[in-house]
Symmetry: D2
Subunit: 343 residues, 4 copies
């Protein structure tokens, strides 16, 4: 299939990461994470985030979010999130099913929560009729392609902590955020008060595998059992371990995320020149949201697949990836122009 702009998980695996998997395919190692590849990957995370970091590898992003949330909640808790959040919109109710918690969706501004938006839900503490708020969950990059500034994260963390709550970050695109902010992983997570991080790799060139990162080891007393019980324990774990090692080596993550972010900027610039197209959100990472004439959507999709984000508004989402090329973008923009002319 021709590369499109549908999703960063429509891409394959970065060659360097694939090579690491190939190299790991030697002989026998113990299963379930008790192997040197997993061990080294955990060490890399501790180098990155500090020595008392606890890391648990899982299969996918939904698994990461659920493992993170279930480690710090009881069934009578609630989790506050944006109504656009992946945990609210795109996980088919996995959080409620597995944790038993109530999700409290908030209409975000530019995809982001703020203390003002969240505060409304910080009530009913100690009142047995009311689900007890325990987590604020944010996505970095947000589902609208915007990026939280460190001080915005800190403000939410402080609010959470002042209510004996935790701040969870769904970092499915954390690399794109780090590049966008030109900061390191630790600086935009732990240093801002994040307690639990779903650290994504799949959307930035890995095959599968996400890491649930806890900055306070006391939160992980039950995590290993919950990982198994949530069907997220990989027997041949070395193949996640090897990927993460390669992902961090020579800052491969940065190179890949920089590239996709740059491609998104390029795409944005090019389509901004077309008067019939309106960019609907700030382009801060690797997603471009645009309102485009309804009649060109289908013909365009035939050549470059992408998703309609909001049908009523004729709003589409274009994602760039580590392997998007300038040529593809030029061809894409050219096709848009041709289609518009024909209409």
């Amino acid at each position: 299939m021709r590369k499109g702009f549908a999703s960063d998980n429509n891409s394959g695996v970065h060659p360097a990461i694939f090579k690491a998997m190939t190299n790991a395919n030697q002989g026998h190692v113990r299963g379930y994470g008790d192997d040197q590849y997993t061990g080294k990957a955990i060490a890399v995370f501790r180098d990155t985030f500090g020595p008392d970091t606890e890391v648990f590898f899982v299969f996918n992003g939904t698994g990461a979010n659920i493992l993170g949330l279930s480690s710090v909640t009881h069934s009578f808790n609630s989790v506050i999130c944006a109504e656009t959040a992946h945990i609210e919109e795109d996980e088919c109710g996995a959080p409620e099913k597995f944790t038993g918690c109530k999700l409290l969706p908030v209409k975000p501004v530019l995809g982001k929560l703020t203390p003002e938006l969240v505060e409304h839900h910080l009530k009913g503490f100690d009142f047995e009729h009311h689900s007890q708020p325990k987590v604020i969950s944010i996505s970095q990059v947000t589902e609208m392609g915007t990026v939280y500034q460190p001080k915005e994260i800190r403000a939410l963390a402080d609010l959470a902590h002042s209510h004996n709550m935790y701040l969870h970050m769904d970092g499915a695109r954390i690399a794109n955020a780090a590049v966008s902010l030109n900061m390191g992983f630790k600086a935009i997570t732990k240093d801002c008060g994040v307690d639990i991080l779903s650290f994504g790799g799949t959307k930035n060139g890995m095959m599968m595998g996400e890491a649930v990162v806890f900055f306070n080891p006391e939160l992980t007393n039950h995590t290993k059992y919950l990982r198994k019980q949530s069907m997220q324990l990989f027997s041949k774990m070395r193949f996640i371990g090897a990927q993460f090692q390669a992902y961090f080596e020579d800052d491969l993550w940065k190179e890949s995320a920089s590239h996709s972010n740059k491609m998104a900027q390029y795409l944005k610039e090019e389509v901004s020149k077309i008067p019939q197209i309106e960019i609907t959100h700030p382009v801060e990472a690797n997603g471009v949201f645009a309102r485009i004439p309804k009649e060109i959507i289908e013909p365009l999709q035939e050549h470059f697949f992408f998703y309609v984000w909001n049908e009523k508004e004729s709003e589409v989402r274009w994602m760039t990836t580590f392997d998007t090329t300038e040529t593809e973008i030029r061809e894409f923009v050219l096709l848009i122009k041709t289609l518009l002319k024909n209409n």
Copy 2:
């Protein structure tokens, strides 16, 4: 690490399967299974089991079992299984947590259930105080390395169906069973009345990926939602699809399973010659269970890792895999003899 006899998932990935994954790593394809690799893999399953087969790929064996069971049960149902079953012993309560069902363990004979053993639990139907029996679940190969004969499966299926129940088969090692019985997959599952099959690949040379196979499409009305909600939907699904294609191509599964079964027979024969060692179960697939002198366990494990199955009985489990070699077995047996002599 030197290859040992710990588990068939301590091995890596069969080279032919790895090659298929490499080949699938080209360009972009749609995510979540809407790609040609997954499509072809599903077609292969339909060729194997019949055109009205429904197949759902998941990450691992626990995920497969839970998806199969949750597709056909309500929370007030019960599932009858051997007390040695993986779902009872080795999934940290995932079945109860995700399905809400009660598991009714039965002491098996040689790892197997029989109608006589199960019948005790077929009661309380229509009685609201009692969990409603809905599934009999068996493992093929069993956790004791034994293999159900087709007529044994048929008897359990008939019993299940006569009570409006289903027969589920945990086929984590279904290939080893097929080879052992010298029959095809369909002949030992669908043709024997199995309703839902967890079809395993990981223990026979795949990286990850299992298939939940339903022989009655009406059972799958909710399965796609349950797969997502149980965190088992893989975004880059093509990498499971490609593996299964390779697994079936030129009967690779048969070659691999035949080899591991043969190695288990060889190992059994060799250790049977040692008077201090007693084989504790019939060796019908790729597992050898043996009672060995306690004092040689640790020194032996230092060179070839394996698990103690029953500490009190000094019983150990040795698993062979697609890449076990005769040389390794000879070295292993030699070491046993040496250790025994030294004692």
Copy 3:
């Protein structure tokens, strides 16, 4: 304790209902509902709602809502409700915990949902990433003391049914609504397209006991098991049956609800005369919501207990009951006036 205006369940049991319980306390009867008192109560419900009505008695309102919802949903479904709904605000997450479903709260207008407010959530059907909408749940009387008009209910029912969904009504105060609308129970539920009704008795003079009423018997295939599994099956069920018999006899429910509604009107009229007090919602049943000067709240509560509804807004909620007297209201209003003068 002096009677206050805190809640309609701060009242005791209506004498006629208590008498029926006393009369039922004779000899032995079979447990769990297989007795003549329960049988007769079910018959009364069928007289009221039609012969193919299915009725399940439970202990309390939360139990009724959860049993109704769990009977018609799977864990991957969602339930749309007002953000003020009891199931969203006051059940400590019981719906999510027991059903696994996602609740989708909507900001209501005057406590009510409308098709326009709900429509936003009617999306993602057949899309496995998205919780599948299955129920619209409304409260009649609403938590804001307002009452849905029959055509408003019908519009929501039609919307639900056009999407293969159900309309659930939390009728904790259904008697007050019927009296307010001057209509019968059937006319404002089944005849408007309601599918599942939580029929409340406790807030209108019963001791405990609610009925889950299904207008389509096919929805109840699993309900008896779910009732037991949700810990809502009463062994000495006769004592709920006897209460409901008395509740319907000579339209006791109507007499009681009429009285509390009338008392609420009287209270509203009296406090409306006080310039410092503002009624914040239409008073359509037995609840009066008012904004009152902050400084009189506590001294007032010392004599007549009630709850602050919205602290920031200085809004309070006053509930009247079947045993509220005009004298009490006059004393209460007099005290308000006195307190205001003293300030």
Copy 4:
């Protein structure tokens, strides 16, 4: 209905308890347990079990068991119990559904667990593949009508505690046990090492209402939320509070339980004289288990209802209650004799 021997919850409410409920039906009190009746009932429990006892009232026995177990477990835990236990056999899977835990049934001896019987399951600690054992649950009186001796309880408690586990007692018939042992409640629970007690009242003359009693207050950090979320929080709680006050007053519980135990002894003695009848378990409380000729079961049930316990064995269960009379027993025995003669 003529009184039979079906179940101790086929009886009604003891007059003294009913009177207390009537007396509590005065005026308004705060809901959900914040009232003087509940307060006094809690005080009585603290007088009985010690000042640091925590007590939570719930609707029924299943609710009590689930609230007790869920307060001290996580979803990945397991609960060891007799295969005849109410939580295993008669709660339609409520424990699994609500707690997520695995139940590990053990074939009991005379309805009782012993350390030897339990030990088999005390394994897999710290092993993430295995449900983590956390509770041993016993029933006192057992479901077979036998009574644990204090030292038997102590042995199980010691075993549990030595593995960092808890001992839960399902005391649905705790009063009958106390009378049988001629000891106080505390002496046969807390003093024997029980950690959590489901204290039943319904089967000994109450209308409804059980108490979950925790002897270590630290176990109850989440209990109030779990009670609400499990739908077990009674709005008009005073009517449970009043019952328990009356239940303890002048040792009413003892009088009632003594009577039913005595009646069971009388029944046992009388039927023991009939050669065709064989008593199958020691009669230690208020249940008599007997093997009787199959052909008299149905004609006997027509006059005195009771349940067949084991159809194959022609074993029946006869329960006596606080209001069983010697006359009834004589009539019953006479009828047996008549029926036997006619056959």
